[in-house]
């Protein structure tokens, strides 16, 4: 039992690699949205995404390592190595049975499967050496192998809430004594079929991602990976590490309503948010900021706004959606947002929701519009995720020592 801290973070994003590059871009309000180059979109009415450009796997791993994995695993390993370095940990310090690796995703190694199926459909055969590279379970396994970790390796495909699921679950395992340290986060890559499917669902904006704006036209897909190093309080003290933030409690619920649409009254989301507060031993008045799911779709944003109002009333709590800059990174999104939560706590800066032009009366929130907010107290942040399948997950992050004793622990 005890507190669990974030001690390092690694990022692969359309805005850059590493937490500093990523964070500077978020604070500046830069957009990572560009034309898709990974596959042909000429037969589709959409061509934008938050694509990670300039990623070279071999910058983060050996050629032999790079050969055995797909783009999704390569993102994960790159982010994990950056996170370890950020935490001041060597591979040797992450080796062994007491390190857990828990990774969230929506589609996993989708491009490996895509390539295999292309070969099968068009050439009638696939190379057998390529087959074992497909397997969503490989995401944490490649990360574990990067450090020599031999404890639990778990993949939690919780769609757009996967990052929150993974981070919360990893923190649980440390508190339960099943691990001392966890490499956790989430990853997603752009893949042709996924892109085509979202176009067919009519969910994609043709130009801008405008969360909570009255004229929002939908989401823009993105990709990326974020890995966090979580450590027990005892271990942080023992090695003299500097905790960036505390992982508080988290709340989960299921809408059990519709596979793609949120519950119209946000029932599951309200439950998850309440449970996150309860598990963190705090009330709504203690929360300083919400990093919203904020996809830019009509249904999500109005429901999410109603949920926030249901919990926080008319209080002008700063809310932002960084999806306006990096797009909807699906399974990776709440992990990408977790970095923003932790950095907001570290710096007191809340990154903006860009492209916010016209307030929507259905989304009466204090949106941090178009420019970063500075100077406010940001001690406690909620990271919100409402996902496909009715998965709702909210994680609380806080300045170290800010949450009461027992936050995140098993309720009596």
């Amino acid at each position: 039992m005890g507190r669990v801290y974030v001690t390092g973070m690694g990022v692969v994003s359309s805005l850059g690699f590493g937490r500093e590059a990523y964070w500077s871009a978020l604070v500046e309000g830069r957009s990572g949205i560009s034309e898709v180059s990974l596959f042909d979109t000429s037969n589709l009415p959409r061509n934008l995404a938050g694509e990670v450009k300039g990623f070279v796997a071999k910058d983060f791993m050996t050629e032999q390592e790079a050969r055995r994995m797909g783009r999704c695993s390569a993102f994960s390993v790159a982010a994990a190595r950056m996170a370890a370095e950020d935490a001041g940990l060597t591979s040797r310090e992450l080796a062994g049975e007491r390190t857990a690796v828990v990774v969230g995703t929506t589609m996993g190694e989708a491009n490996v499967l895509g390539e295999l199926q292309q070969a099968w459909i068009h050439e009638g055969a696939v190379r057998s050496a390529r087959l074992p590279r497909y397997g969503t379970t490989l995401l944490p396994i490649h990360v574990a192998r990067a450090f020599g970790a031999s404890g639990m390796v778990q993949t939690l495909p919780a769609a757009c809430a996967a990052g929150n699921y993974a981070i919360g679950f990893a923190a649980d395992q440390i508190r339960a004594g099943r691990a001392d340290v966890a490499v956790t986060g989430a990853v997603e890559i752009l893949e042709k079929l996924e892109y085509q499917g979202f176009v067919r669902l009519g969910a994609m904006s043709p130009d801008l991602c405008q969360p909570f704006d009255a004229n929002r036209k939908g989401l823009i897909l993105g990709e990326g990976a974020t890995m966090l190093i979580l450590e027990s309080e005892e271990r942080v003290v023992r090695r003299g590490a500097r905790p960036l933030a505390e992982v508080g409690g988290y709340g989960l619920a299921c809408d059990a309503h519709h596979i793609t649409r949120p519950h119209p009254e946000g029932e599951g989301s309200i439950t998850a948010m309440r449970l996150a507060l309860e598990a963190s031993r705090i009330g709504p008045e203690d929360v300083d900021h919400i990093n919203a799911h904020g996809t830019g779709t009509s249904a999500n944003d109005s429901v999410e706004a109603a949920v926030i109002r249901a919990i926080f009333g008319e209080r002008p709590l700063p809310v932002t959606s960084i999806k306006s800059m990096i797009g909807h990174c699906m399974g990776a999104s709440s992990a990408m947002e977790a970095v923003a939560c932790v950095m907001s706590i570290e710096t007191g800066i809340i990154p903006p929701t860009i492209n916010y032009e016209t307030p929507d009366p259905d989304c009466p929130l204090a949106i941090v519009a178009n420019g970063a907010q500075t100077g406010a107290k940001v001690d406690v942040v909620l990271n919100n995720a409402l996902a496909f399948g009715g998965y709702d997950a909210v994680v609380c992050f806080a300045k170290p020592g800010r949450l009461p004793e027992g936050a995140g622990e098993v309720l009596a």
């Binding site: 055995r68 292309q118 969503t136 379970t137 639990m152 085509q196 669902l201």
Partner: protein, 398 residues
């Protein structure tokens, strides 16, 4: 760990219901013959004359789910929903659509595993996109390509509003779902969970395993646990255990069919950097030791191992060596996959359902070695992944 199993739901090549599973153990040879005797619908004989796969024969979704609302669901989703209905009814929680116990839908969650669950739907839509035009992708079928869709539909169909978690750890997923369940119950995020999962036979999966030389095709010998086996046979199925705190089960007067007592997991990477596949006896031993230790029992208390022996000699040999190392060479080892084939995450779920059946009086089997006592008190269920990942769970008599 001390959690109550109050219900079991099963969809397997032997039919729907845990009762079919219990019957199968009375005569494993006959069960195996039944499991592989149907007329294939996925791997059609005309196209795959050498294939032997155990499908869920004669599954009628209209009979199980009614005639509306499931047209666009994939096969795995239908199996999972039926297994969920079966488990909820067996636990005395629901009769049909109605909740009939204090455990309402807001208190029940789902921890569901699959290894290759969305592969069928991804293939279906890729064929449309590649051979026709992406504009013809059916948006109503697109959600099936997302891994957690199947578990999400279980919550929707059964109105289960507590947390829903999908776990993808290859063959180990259903056992790892036990850890998710224990974690969330400890934090009181729910009062009960459906725990298990499933996988289905698909053409791309068969082609992939055949290409890897892992299928015992035609008349080649298939014998899980034997060095002479030439590969595996694919199977499919889904199973859920209804799992709740013992105090909760007792308070509502639910039948406690078994106890989940321990969980262990391990990862052991291959020594060669370039390798991915790895049969690790050390991983097996460590996962079993972890589960037995978590259960607070001596290794000698294990009556039988519900193994994941599937017919791939390197993996079977490593598993048996790991079992020997953790529990001694005298422990009885059963290989249920010898009855219904390799169904990946589904096999782990069916393995746990098998253990509950054995604890309930069914004879453990089919045995590849050793003898079992007249009453089964402790079973360790093992799931061995292909990458050096292994998980184990201990189930015990109540």
């Amino acid at each position: 760990m001390r959690l109550a199993v109050t219900g079991v739901g099963v969809v397997s090549p032997l039919g729907v219901g845990a009762g079919r599973l219990r019957e199968a153990f009375e005569d494993p040879d006959a069960a195996r013959a039944r499991a592989f005797a149907g007329e294939p619908t996925v791997l059609e004989r005309a196209k795959f004359p050498e294939a032997h796969a155990a499908e869920v024969w004669g599954f009628d979704p209209n009979e199980a789910l009614g005639d509306k609302g499931h047209r666009n669901l994939d096969r795995l989703t239908k199996y999972l929903i039926v297994a969920a209905k079966d488990a909820l009814a067996d636990a005395g929680v629901k009769q049909g659509a109605a909740f009939v116990s204090p455990l309402g839908g807001e208190h029940i969650g789902v921890c569901s595993a699959t290894a290759y669950g969305s592969l069928d739907s991804i293939t279906e839509l890729n064929l449309v996109a590649e051979l026709e035009d992406p504009r013809y992708i059916n948006p109503a079928r697109f959600p099936n390509t997302v891994i957690n869709a199947a578990a999400g539909y279980v919550s929707i169909w059964e109105e289960l509003r507590a947390p829903n978690a999908t776990i993808v750890d290859g063959n180990c997923g259903a056992l790892d779902a036990v850890l998710s369940c224990e974690t969330h119950l400890a934090h009181r995020r729910a009062d009960a969970f459906l725990v298990g999962g499933g996988d289905v036979v698909t053409e791309p999966l068969y082609l992939a395993f055949r290409r890897l030389g892992a299928i015992a095709g035609g008349g080649a010998r298939w014998a899980p646990g034997s060095r002479e086996s030439k590969g595996l046979h694919l199977g499919e199925g889904a199973a859920y255990l209804m799992v709740e705190r013992v105090s909760g089960a007792q308070a509502r007067g639910a039948p406690i069919r078994a106890l989940l007592r321990g969980y262990g997991t391990a990862f052991d990477a291959p020594r060669e950097t370039s390798r991915l596949l790895h049969a690790s006896s050390a991983g097996v031993a460590r996962a079993i030791r972890g589960a037995v230790s978590d259960a607070g029992i001596e290794p000698s208390a294990i009556d039988v191992v519900c193994s994941s022996l599937g017919g791939l000699p390197p993996f079977d040999a490593a598993e048996l060596a790991g079992i020997d190392e953790a529990l001694g060479a005298g422990v009885a080892v059963a290989a249920p996959k010898a009855m219904w084939g390799e169904s990946f995450a589904g096999a782990g779920a069916l393995g746990m359902a098998s253990a509950v059946a054995w604890i309930g009086g069914a004879p453990p089997g089919p045995l590849v070695r050793g003898d079992v006592p007249s009453a089964t008190r402790h079973v360790v269920v093992v799931a061995m992944g292909y990458y050096g990942n292994v998980s184990a769970v201990v189930l015990a008599a109540p």
